[in-house]
C-alpha cells in the first residue's frame, strides 16, 4: 500500500490533504477565535478540492457555497454577537485534555486498523456522468423527490426556528 505510484491524482490528493490537516490543526492550536474560524475555512476549501478529485463537481461547488460561505460567515456573526476575547486560559484542564487526546487517538487507531484490514475490491468501475450537475439534478427530481421536499421543509422550519430563537424578546 505504501509504494503508491506518483500519479497526478495522488499529488493533488497530497496537496489538498496537507491543506486540510494544516487548517484543522491550526484550529486546535490558535488562540484567537476568529483565527480559528479562518483556519477552518482553509480546511473546508481543501475539502472542496478533494470533491473535485472524486469527480463530484457539483458537491464541490455546494461545499464552497455552504461551508466555506454560509457556515463560516454564520460562525463569524456568532462570534461578533457574543463576546469575542480569546480562549481564556484560567486553569489548564490537563487531565481533561489528555483524556480527550487519548480517546481521539484510540478512535483513530481503531478506524485505521479497520481501513487497513478491509478489502475494497471494486466489482464495477465508476463511470462518471458526462455532466455531473445534470445527472444529480435528474436523480434528485425523479428518484429522490420525497426526501428532497422533506429536506426543504426541514430547512424552512429550522431557519424560522433560528430567527425566533435569536430575536430579542419584546419587553
Amino acid at each position: 500500500m505504501w509504494n503508491v505510484e506518483l500519479t497526478g491524482e495522488f499529488i493533488a490528493f497530497f496537496v489538498f490533504a496537507v491543506m486540510i490537516i494544516t487548517g484543522a490543526v491550526m484550529m486546535l492550536s490558535l488562540t484567537q477565535v476568529v483565527h480559528m474560524v479562518l483556519s477552518l475555512l482553509a480546511a473546508f476549501i481543501g475539502m472542496a478540492g478533494m470533491f473535485v478529485l472524486l469527480q463530484a463537481e457539483f458537491l464541490a461547488f455546494v461545499q464552497v457555497l455552504i461551508y466555506a460561505g454560509a457556515v463560516t460567515i454564520l460562525m463569524i456573526f456568532g462570534i461578533m454577537m457574543t463576546n469575542h476575547q480569546g480562549e481564556g486560559a484560567e486553569f489548564p484542564r490537563a487531565w481533561h485534555e489528555g483524556l480527550a487526546a487519548v480517546g481521539a487517538l484510540a478512535l483513530f487507531g481503531l478506524l485505521f486498523y479497520a481501513i487497513r484490514q478491509a478489502d475494497f475490491s471494486q466489482v464495477t468501475a465508476y463511470a462518471p456522468a458526462e455532466d455531473n450537475t445534470l445527472a444529480i439534478g435528474k436523480l434528485l427530481f425523479t428518484g429522490y423527490v420525497v426526501p428532497f421536499e422533506l429536506v426543504s421543509v426541514l430547512l424552512t422550519v429550522a431557519f424560522i426556528g433560528a430567527i425566533v430563537l435569536a430575536k430579542k424578546e419584546a419587553d
Binding site: 474560524v37 475539502m47 478533494m50 472524486l54 481533561h96 480527550a100 475494497f120 444529480i136 430579542k168
Partner: protein, 100 residues
C-alpha cells in the same frame, strides 16, 4: 486510493472530536461538529467513486447531509445567542446547571 481518502476522513473526524471535547468557546465546539460532519461527507463521496458498486447515490446522500448540517449550524448559533443573552457567557464550562 480509497484507503487514503478513508484515512484522511478518519484523521479529520478525530481532530473534530478532540476539538469538540476540549475547546471552551461554544462557537468553536459547533465548528468542530461541522468538521466531523464534513469528514463523514468525504467518506460518502469517496465510496460513491471507489465503492463496491459506485453510483451517484453517495453524492445525493451527502448533499442531504450538507443541508442538515447547515440547518444544524443555524439553529446552534441561534441557541448560542439566546444562551449568551441569558447567561452572558459563551464558555461551555459555565453551562453546568445540570451538574449542581
Amino acid at each position: 486510493m480509497l484507503a487514503s481518502y478513508l484515512t484522511m476522513a478518519a484523521i479529520l473526524f478525530c481532530i473534530g472530536l478532540y476539538g469538540a471535547l476540549t475547546k471552551r468557546n461554544a462557537v468553536i465546539v459547533l465548528l468542530s461538529i461541522e468538521l466531523m460532519l464534513n469528514a463523514a461527507n468525504l467518506n460518502l463521496v469517496a465510496f460513491s467513486k471507489y465503492g463496491l458498486a459506485p453510483s451517484l447515490k453517495g453524492q445525493i446522500f451527502s448533499l442531504f447531509s450538507i443541508t442538515v448540517g447547515a440547518a444544524e449550524a443555524a439553529v446552534g448559533i441561534a441557541v448560542l445567542i439566546a444562551l449568551f443573552r441569558a447567561r452572558g457567557s459563551v464558555n461551555v464550562d459555565d453551562y453546568d446547571e445540570m451538574r449542581r
